[in-house]
Symmetry: C3
Subunit: 132 residues, 3 copies
């Protein structure tokens, strides 16, 4: 049997399509792209870039926590942002929310995102070895 386990948590918005919030493959956790949506699925498209970044990062961290990880387990984060001029704002919010971790990161400018959002975040983490 493949050693993969989906992650499901109501501390982050439920999947809006045919995917899991996260998938644990062996010890590696893959977190789906997270948008600026509240866990109850209220959209934040009218909010500032900073508020959107904060919520998208919070959703990513909630799935990480649900899988048993902390920011110390993050290996890579990819951020998709509308408007490369938002890069410094993204970096500032991100540094504040992950003060003790500096995973590898790529910031990818995109022309648009679903529903007019300005930022989407996905991530890869290496979870601690299972305790016996």
């Amino acid at each position: 049997m493949p050693n993969l386990t989906p992650v499901t948590t109501d501390t982050a918005p439920g999947a809006a399509g045919h995917y899991s919030q996260g998938m644990i493959a062996g010890q590696t956790l893959y977190i789906s792209g997270q948008l600026p949506v509240l866990p109850d699925r209220s959209p934040l498209a009218d909010m500032s870039f900073e508020a959107q970044a904060e919520q998208a990062i919070a959703n990513m961290l909630a799935i990480l926590t649900a899988a048993g990880g902390t920011t110390q387990n993050l290996a890579r984060v990819t951020a998709y942002i509308v408007g490369v001029e938002n890069w410094p704002r993204f970096n500032a919010v991100y540094a504040r929310m992950l003060p003790d971790a500096r995973p590898a990161r790529t910031v990818v400018p995109v022309p648009e995102l679903h529903y007019g959002y300005l930022v989407e975040i996905d991530a890869v983490a290496l979870l601690d070895a299972a305790h016996g």
Copy 2:
């Protein structure tokens, strides 16, 4: 010696540049970006979004199969689409073709793709442990 093995199959289009269709690194399979191209390299750029999505997903799944995996092994899928308004169409085709698996997923809107294509798919899978 590094424990990496390229995947080559004629059930998916051959690589059009300097890359392998897939690369197995340990137990992890990385599948290269797949476009809506037939295995004989006939392009489908004039086809509907749905037909393009179906072929790109089929190519990804063919490489997965060639590496010994099934959809149960998929950990993450990233879909690059032109026109975020195509998101529901992408999700519908994808759900139909992967009925029993919900890997982590990110859908990334892009301004354009090679040759005017509308969708490109890449993926990561955790293969089953090698049999002794």
Copy 3:
């Protein structure tokens, strides 16, 4: 303790924000998005596409080397390029710089990159098992 180790080297440009140049998670190395910047952080935005591609790839390879890897360890490369018409130029520079390796690859067209750059590269590698 999580089994993650950041990679830091002065043979590639230092991180411009809240991230590490690379992160080793178990045996897997994740390399952050690399832009056409010299190790001393001089920008190359005014250079040709080819010169930019060469520097971004060189930075990625420098971080790979600093982590103890070679191109034989590369599992996946993702290239973000401005202008899909630059695909053949990217492929030519890349093939010249990685003559003996063909990792899985996705080339993602983007509308723009930071500071007007035309190309950004990130990568995943499987490092050799630690020697005892």
